[in-house]
């Protein structure tokens, strides 16, 4: 499912998402405000843990994907 939010960085996008769907933020972030272990977040297909993390800047056309990390095998 896809939703539109307005934000200038990734954490802002998550806060905006939480405003539409209360409780979402605490499922994505732990008590330290870090991404939970079993959540992968991609900014335009790039794993944000490989880039600038939750502080990454986002613009109007950017696409953020939130995908459960759990999968295995090759």
């Amino acid at each position: 499912m896809t939703v539109d939010v307005e934000a200038t960085n990734l954490i802002g996008a998550i806060v905006a998402l939480d405003a539409q769907y209360p409780g979402f933020k605490e499922r994505l972030l732990d008590e330290n405000g870090d991404l939970r272990q079993f959540v992968n977040v991609y900014l335009n297909d790039e794993d944000v843990r490989l880039g600038s993390g939750l502080g990454a800047r986002v613009g109007e056309k950017d696409e953020i994907s939130i995908v459960p990390a759990v999968a295995g095998g090759r």
């Binding site: 959540v39 297909d45 794993d47 995908v67 459960p68 990390a69 759990v70 295995g72 095998g73 090759r74």
Partner: protein, 413 residues
């Protein structure tokens, strides 16, 4: 009698009914199959197992498939456990064993998990089986889907080697070549489960799929005379397999199949070119596994973002094991070492396992009498190209004319 009660989140303990789902809605943690252990304790016995088929289905009582289900099998499992005296002599180990899982129907350990996954999926009304893969998993899924007569969708990275594509294509699955790497393919499939009625072996039916791994350790214990080894060396990709082997030891003890309460040390093997679990194990915070971009010839275990990595580190620490990694050169050397000493040709992932075994042995990890088992999980013909590029010809090769004279001149006997 139904032996599966449902699914439970490994992190927060939330419980779910039996269904094709793998992620906790509350915390995104992984879901595991929950069994009626009290009922199973009354049934499970060495005798029942020993009377079963000479395949991994002799452990059917311990797998997430009900008694009434007609399983999809090609005779997977019950692979040889060989005592490796010549390799052991090189490494100073007098009780070294190799579990040769390259002897499975499609030549890798994946046949175990896929046989369980497809049996479960067919019994629960799924008509299409799918997976994201670069080789071994796709091979197994395509073969078992053909065997079961189910539709099959296999998602592969577009640059997959022609030989691997051929080995998958022969089973006639729908082959979707994705412009991206394996992690991209896996992510696409994770998103696809929302909108397709398909059973993705390694994603939405993963709680059942993963259970098939346990049989490798069940067999090892049985083949050692219902004893557990002192240490097991296991290759790590997502870490899913490693976690199930720890669970298998728990079950062997719980159901009284093995005597004693000494848990083997669980040691993990990675390629340095894709070593996120190894990196975390040797860092200040082993509970934080940071993703990497894989760059290794051991492609069948090159997962840059391993979902079970944290559990691997916990299990290794708790059982006195370690996580070790080897270079590309050490991988190829280990493939040759295993072939030269034991007559077993393994793929690059097996080279990682044997490479780690050799590295630890040479560093003095063992005194010599310990029973050590290494899991050799795939056949060398799957990755034969790495030998050709590393060294085109054997150093013991000579070319001669078809004459006795030429033979005498060129060949020393």
């Amino acid at each position: 009698m139904p032996k599966l009660l449902g699914l439970r989140c490994r992190e927060c303990g939330a419980e779910y009914e039996l269904q094709a789902t793998h992620v906790c809605e509350m915390c995104f943690g992984p879901l595991d199959a929950v069994y009626d252990t009290a009922a199973m304790k009354k049934i499970v016995s060495r005798q029942r197992i020993e009377q079963g088929p000479k395949s991994m289905w002799r452990y059917r009582d311990l797998l997430p498939v009900e008694d009434t289900v007609n399983v999809v099998t090609l005779g997977e499992g019950y692979t040889p456990l060989v005592k490796a005296d010549r390799l052991g002599a090189e490494l100073g180990l007098r009780n070294l064993y190799l579990k040769n899982d390259s002897m499975n129907p499609t030549n890798s350990f994946k046949d175990r998990v896929v046989s369980v996954a497809i049996s479960w999926a067919r019994a629960h009304g799924f008509e299409t089986i799918a997976c994201a893969s670069t080789g071994n998993l796709a091979n197994a899924v395509a073969a078992y889907a053909a065997r079961a007569g189910l539709e099959c969708f296999v998602f592969i990275p577009i640059d997959l080697e022609p030989a691997k594509v051929a080995a998958i294509s022969v089973f006639d699955p729908n082959l979707v070549a994705v412009r991206g790497n394996y992690d991209d393919v896996n992510r696409l499939c994770s998103q696809l489960i929302e909108s397709t009625p398909w059973a993705f072996c390694n994603i939405n039916i993963r709680p059942f799929y993963a259970e098939g791994s346990k049989t490798l350790t069940f067999e090892t214990a049985e083949q050692l005379g219902w004893k557990l080894p002192d240490e097991i060396i296991i290759p790590i990709a997502s870490g899913c397999q490693f976690v199930r082997h720890r669970q298998a030891v728990r079950e062997l003890m719980e159901y009284g199949l093995v005597r004693g309460d000494r848990v083997p040390s669980f040691t993990g093997a990675q390629a340095l070119g894709c070593a996120p679990v190894y990196n975390a194990f040797h860092s200040d915070n082993p509970d934080r596994v940071l993703p990497v971009k894989p760059d290794t010839i051991a492609k069948s275990i090159a997962i840059g973002n391993p979902s079970d990595g944290v559990y691997v580190n916990r299990i290794a620490r708790e059982t006195g094991g370690v996580v070790e990694a080897v270079s590309e050169e050490e991988i190829v050397d280990a493939i040759r070492l295993l072939a030269r000493t034991e007559g077993i040709f393994t793929e690059t992932a097996g080279g990682v396992t044997i490479g780690v075994l050799a590295k630890l042995a040479r560093a003095g990890r063992w005194k010599g009498e310990e029973t050590v088992v290494a899991y050799v999980t795939g056949h060398g013909l799957k990755t034969a190209d790495v030998l050709a590029s590393a060294n085109g010809h054997s150093s013991r090769r000579v070319e001669i004319e078809p004459t006795m004279k030429s033979f005498r001149e060129k060949v020393s006997i």
